[in-house]
Symmetry: C2
Subunit: 329 residues, 2 copies
């Protein structure tokens, strides 16, 4: 463990050499100074990743921790259809973190940072009783100048999903029951929990799709607390009828929950830490969306009356709350 802030900054500089084109003044002054380029809005989101609440060192490798802390924060940029500018990291380190652990954790974070073109612009460091990473991400609209908010859905709109739901939940349950990381049986589920991939490119692509009548996608959010909990936040005053089928789920979601006597569809809707994207589109513009991005799944439609109903008439119960505990029913 580095014994001074200066030592720590040397480790940071070694892992995060990039300054980024939008960083006028980087680490080492009172503030970092960002230049968003063209005048225009700047997106900001913070994500707190705390040992015990969000991860365990027993089954997260140091690199997994670094990766996921940044991935979870970057997913919020994806949920706005924004393009990354940079991030800041506040790190709380307990005494039992070794130099090697820190090095591997930063390496996992740096690899994703490089891939997302999301340079580290600043941060802070403190000792503390647990390992905690607070990641602040900055982004801006893509070249087409749009950011996609929640609560934009109109009755009749199609609800769209990008990415898998329930897969990270299966991974979490498997890791919690085994207490360590065994990849053989449910590799996709376990990787979805340990190494989620923020859908930045997909968010940007969704924001870009235009039709002769205007933009195809009118609302977007990232699904991080499970669809059951996030859907009402997305819909605002409206409701939805969900047509999601078992066939829409990842095969590991179906087999994992079926083999644990749970309904795969319900488990997928409860989900949590999916980092999938939820969008809405005008019905008439839907064919263009599906033509441009065939991996998009249509999972239902927006209704004027509030509440979320499944095809069997069941009303959706809520999902995942990091604050109240791993699950809130």
């Amino acid at each position: 463990m580095p014994t001074s802030e200066q030592d720590f900054l040397r480790v940071i500089d070694c892992h995060f050499p990039e300054r980024g084109e939008h960083v006028l003044l980087g680490r080492g002054d009172d503030c970092a100074v960002l230049d968003p380029g063209k005048p225009g809005p700047l997106c900001v989101s913070t994500d707190l990743f705390v040992e015990g609440a969000h991860f365990r060192r027993s089954y997260f490798s140091p690199a997994d921790i670094g990766h996921k802390a940044l991935a979870a924060a970057a997913s919020d940029l994806a949920g706005m259809g924004a393009t990354p500018l940079g991030f800041a990291l506040s790190l709380m380190l307990p005494d039992d973190v070794s130099d090697q652990f820190l090095d591997e954790m930063l390496e996992g974070m740096a690899a994703l940072s490089k891939r997302l073109e999301l340079p580290l612009i600043g941060g802070d460091l403190s000792r503390g009783p647990a390992l905690a990473l607070d990641v602040v991400v900055f982004g801006k609209p893509g070249p087409w100048g749009r950011l996609l908010k929640r609560c934009q859905a109109k009755p009749g709109d199609a609800l769209l999903l990008l990415g898998d739901i329930g897969l990270a939940r299966a991974g979490l349950l498997e890791l919690e029951s085994k207490g360590c990381c065994v990849l053989q049986e449910w590799p996709a589920a376990i990787m979805a929990h340990l190494r989620p991939e923020p859908l930045i490119t997909e968010g940007l692509a969704l924001a870009q799709i235009t039709t002769p009548e205007g933009p195809a996608i009118t609302g977007l959010m990232d699904v991080s607390d499970g669809l059951a909990r996030d859907l009402p936040r997305f819909l605002g005053a409206h409701g939805a009828e969900i047509t999601l089928q078992r066939e829409d789920l990842h095969p590991e979601v179906v087999s994992y929950f079926a083999s644990h006597s749970e309904d795969p569809l319900e488990a997928a809707l409860l989900g949590g830490e999916d980092y999938a994207l939820l969008a809405c589109a005008d019905r008439k513009r839907l064919p263009i969306v599906l033509a441009v991005m065939p991996q998009v799944k249509v999972i239902g439609r927006v209704t004027a009356e509030p509440g979320v109903r499944l095809q069997n008439g069941q009303v959706l119960r809520e999902g995942f709350d990091h604050f109240a505990g791993r699950e809130a029913d």
Copy 2:
């Protein structure tokens, strides 16, 4: 303690009703969206405030904790001569924090936020083993368009100080020795530690002073780790001769350290958490600075040779490192 994130957001909304003119999209979406107004640079700084490392609940009131977490972060904006835009708060709450405690802590933070015109734009929340607040502040240059960096000092420049050094250190030592807050004997010292005031107005005023030959102040930083540690960071490759006198110190600094058999001047230079401002100015432009801001103290001059020397020929030893512990000698 709120039992869900929604409950918590209601408490937050109650304390921080302001949106701020630069907030296009506030709390509750994937990202907050800031509009810096005119195209131009954006300052970002993070400050992690952790129980045990930075404060104790035994002598910090909840409102003190909320105030100081924000004050310490805002001081970094002061150190750039920047004007506040907004802040984000990531909060790690242990189970023993009551609703009332949280309420008072947010109230202390909200009062300073209102006074500094620094609206809360977003944040995150998690349970955790200790109380920790990570504050991210955003700012922009004042109307004159300048931001003041470190490492700008030229040999011959005057070194200037705004605010008291050593006062918060006396307060910390007194609070640590008493274990609780007794204001009678050293009220200024104790308030300097519990309730530091970020010198935002002063930083902006320094950035604004112009002379017929150009801006008067060429470099600025906030002194948060003690002058002994921060001076070398400010000077870069250069050194300094310090002419600071006992008469320049707050009377409580002189009497506190003298009564504890410590040299007040040395204790003040070691300092820590002073949140004073350190600046440099061309000698010829100094009279204008002192005419505009008579509270500025001239504490020395920049030298070409590195190292910091006191008037008695002593070479300054380094100060305060939150990471290595409360003091690093």
